[in-house]
């Protein structure tokens, strides 16, 4: 079981690194979109600071969705998915492996880039620590939920657009509590409740999403 998990994480990371890493594209999108906001809402520090948490979370959410539709697409087209769905290793574990690899190539870079961009948006330094912590707990949940969407749109017409319609409504709880955690930190209010709830989402997603993704993959392969 664990061997299967390790094998697939290693394989997917190797694939990601050799195929021109998505991480660069994801982080570039994240930086670019955040940089657009001052042009939109004006450079006044006060406004930017007030919306900084929201901007960072929304753009991170969109960025992590970018590379989702390729999560299973190549395996679906070259027949690897057939072998995976029927293999002795439980499909849920393999999906968890692929999601971990996806998080390492997208969630982690976003996490590292977030504080830098927080400076651009003039966020109060008190919020940086919680921002990174909230990203650490929130972005894996985004990858887990996104994997369900990616499996559902396999072989669909215009899968990319459809994926965002399916997945974005499910991202709202993470967005709400992620932003409120950072806002609370900036105003020196307790953040424990929000982080615990984000943790709750993570464990719920880690338990349910691989199973739902496996079900979606099995019916996609039929």
């Amino acid at each position: 079981m664990i061997a299967g998990f390790g094998a697939i994480v290693a394989r997917d990371l190797r694939l990601a690194l050799r195929q021109g890493s998505d991480s660069l594209m994801v982080v570039t999108f994240f930086v670019l979109t955040v940089v657009l906001f001052p042009f939109g809402v004006g450079p006044e520090a006060g406004i930017l600071e007030r919306i900084s948490a929201g901007v960072l979370w929304v753009t991170a959410l969109l960025a992590s969705m970018l590379s989702l539709d390729r999560l299973f697409q190549t395996d679906y087209e070259d027949g690897s998915l057939d072998l995976m769905t029927r293999g002795p290793a439980p499909l849920g574990v393999l999906v968890l492996g692929k999601v971990t690899a996806h998080w390492l190539t997208t969630g982690l870079p976003l996490l590292l880039a977030a504080p830098v961009l927080a400076v651009l948006l003039n966020m109060n330094a008190a919020g940086f620590g919680v921002l990174v912590l909230a990203f650490l707990i929130g972005t894996p949940t985004l990858s887990l939920i996104g994997a369900v969407g990616a499996a559902l749109v396999l072989g669909a017409r215009r899968g990319g657009v459809l994926l965002s319609l399916l997945v974005l409504p499910l991202y709202i709880p993470v967005l709400v509590f992620g932003v409120s955690a950072v806002d609370a930190a900036v105003m020196d209010l307790p953040v424990r409740a929000q982080l615990l709830i984000l943790g709750g989402f993570l464990f719920a997603a880690a338990a349910l999403c691989p199973w739902a993704t496996a079900a979606a993959l099995r019916q996609a392969v039929e």
């Binding site: 061997a3 299967g4 094998a7 697939i8 394989r11 190797r14 694939l15 050799r18 195929q19 190549t74 087209e77 070259d78 027949g79 690897s80 057939d82 072998l83 769905t85 029927r86 293999g87 002795p88 290793a89 439980p90 392969v221 039929e222």
Partner: protein, 231 residues
Amino acid sequence: MTDQAFDDAAEFAGRGLACIRGERIVFADLDFSLAPGEAILLLGPNGSGKSSLLRVMAGLLRPAAGALTWGGAPVAEDPEAHGGRSRYIGHHDAIKPVLTVRENVGFWSSLWSGDGSTATVQRALAAFGIAHLLDVPGRWLSAGQKRRVNLSRLLAAPAPLWLLDEPTTALDRATVAVVEGLIAEHRARGGMVVLSTHTDVALPGAKVLQMDDFTVPMDWAGLDAAEEALS
């Protein structure tokens, strides 16, 4: 490759199998049984359900009716165990262009048998005469070489039941002979093979399953008739 017989091989059978793809009944009321050492050759025109039957046997496709059993026990109860004791070779070769042959085969054999070592991979490739391709990335392989790398997975992670969907496409005469030899050796060790093909593959003593015998008129009238016959 390793010479010990398959102790977990048992009679693999299917009763009253039916398969629906889209609104079309591909086949209905199909029975088969396969004892250790035996082979089944699936023949029939395109679209008669050869691939669908193989995917049903591989557990990839849920049959609309009927059930598969392994040594008497229903397969559906423990699909992962069925995955462990059978290998499925489909139309696609599942080879990543960016990974080398060693990584491609090694990944699957470590997933299936926990042993993804280079030695195992090398032995499997040698059986197909492509040991020299060990560190060649997938994108440089020809169709025939990709097919041989795909087939070498059968040897890298041995399992009693082989489900081969037109394994000899894109293979030259010499390699087909190699495949026939390996199948014979596999059966000699108590393994079982189900193989669909358009070209002639020598499978001595194999049971022939004509898919045409199990097609059913497709429209709803036929559907109702098929149902009365089955209920």
